[in-house]
């Protein structure tokens, strides 16, 4: 049986932990829009992952993945990106409880881990280029660089986003009231991490025949 009580105050209440305006769903517009964006990003990266799988192992010319990949090295950079997800969520937990010093430590660590990941990717790209792999040499080259390059671009945008939050926090403009801004940045950061989980498996770990 359903018991229904209606409070006819006439005003939707804002989310408890933010200074956002009220919404009828009780969810902030920014968060809702961002989840919709992440849903569309699944389709975006899905297109490039499936293109990579489509052309996987169909090359006759140019360097082959097995000749180029250094799985232990990429495993280390993947581990670093995975750990950045932990530091990001710890940063969010810190700002939600009003611990700004720890928030900055965790947020700075996340940005640093992200930079290390990008540094590893640049090193890898440079090595592959020296070995003769580029966007035009074969299908592997074009699909690999496009997929991992787009992911790297997403990580780079994330780093700038994190650094801007760090800077706002230093200026005292990012208070506990703005925890949702950190939560949304965190959602983006975790998303680039989960995309990498699949890219790492599809490109580096699944055996090439």
């Amino acid at each position: 049986m359903t018991s229904t009580t209606i409070a006819t105050t006439g005003h939707a209440q804002p989310p408890a932990h933010t200074g956002e305006h009220a919404t009828n769903t009780g969810i902030s517009n920014m968060k809702l829009a961002f989840w919709a964006f992440l849903g569309s990003e699944c389709l975006f990266f899905g297109a490039f992952i499936s293109t990579y799988l489509l052309y996987r192992g169909r090359d006759t010319l140019g360097p082959k993945p097995k000749q180029l990949f250094d799985v232990p090295f990429t495993s280390c950079t993947s581990f670093i990106l995975l750990m950045s997800s932990l530091t990001m969520v710890l940063a969010l937990a810190a700002i939600q409880r009003g611990d700004h010093r720890r928030f900055r430590i965790w947020l700075g660590s996340t940005a640093l881990f992200g930079l290390t990941f990008i540094g590893g990717q640049v090193y890898e790209f440079t090595n592959f280029y020296r070995e003769g792999l580029n966007l035009h040499v074969n299908l592997f080259g074009s699909t690999f660089f496009i997929l991992t390059g787009l992911h790297g671009a997403h990580v780079t945008i994330g780093i700038f986003w994190l650094l801007s939050l760090y800077s706002r926090s230093l200026q005292g403009k990012l208070t506990t009231e703005h925890a949702e801004a950190v939560e949304v940045a965190g959602l983006y950061w975790h998303f680039v991490d989960i995309v990498w989980i699949f890219i790492f498996t599809a490109i580096y770990l699944v055996p090439y025949h």
Binding site: G10, G26, W35, C42, S85, L86, I197, T201, Y204, P207
Partner: protein, 137 residues
């Protein structure tokens, strides 16, 4: 089951049951108790739980890398299935715990699931069109 309506838009004159939810007839908005957790500060896990999840993620990543070295010793289809499963577990852990989808509003879960379900269906169809799963082509 008891559902408590916590708030209602004054523009809605009457309520109409739609499925398991009650919706204002005039198209006005109404928030049910099921949506209330989104507006309340939802209970996020403790930092210690986050660290525990991260440890599990690291262990799975180690297992993934170790599994990839079994190439040649184990049937490749089995290897691909195992790697796919481990990646899916990692994905689930990050989304459910770090992105708080486990405790956040159902609406957010639905938004994300829409893209998540649509993407594999769409791209599996595309890959089937190109005979990717047919080893004779």
């Amino acid at each position: 089951m008891t559902e408590q309506i916590t708030d209602v838009d004054p523009s809605s004159a009457a309520l109409v049951p739609v499925g398991d939810e009650i919706v204002p007839a005039g198209g006005g908005a109404l928030v049910s108790a099921s949506a209330a957790p989104a507006r309340a500060a939802h209970a996020h896990p403790e930092p210690r739980q986050y660290v525990l999840i991260a440890v599990v993620l690291v262990v799975i990543t180690g297992m993934e890398v170790a599994t990839s070295y079994l190439e040649g010793d184990v049937n490749s289809n089995l290897l691909i299935a195992a790697l796919g499963m481990m990646a899916a577990v990692k994905f689930f852990l990050v989304v459910a715990w770090f992105m708080h989808l486990r405790t956040d509003s159902k609406v957010l879960r639905r938004f994300f699931l829409l893209g998540l379900i649509a993407a594999p269906i769409l791209y599996t169809i595309v890959l089937l069109m190109f005979h990717v799963f047919n080893s004779n082509v």
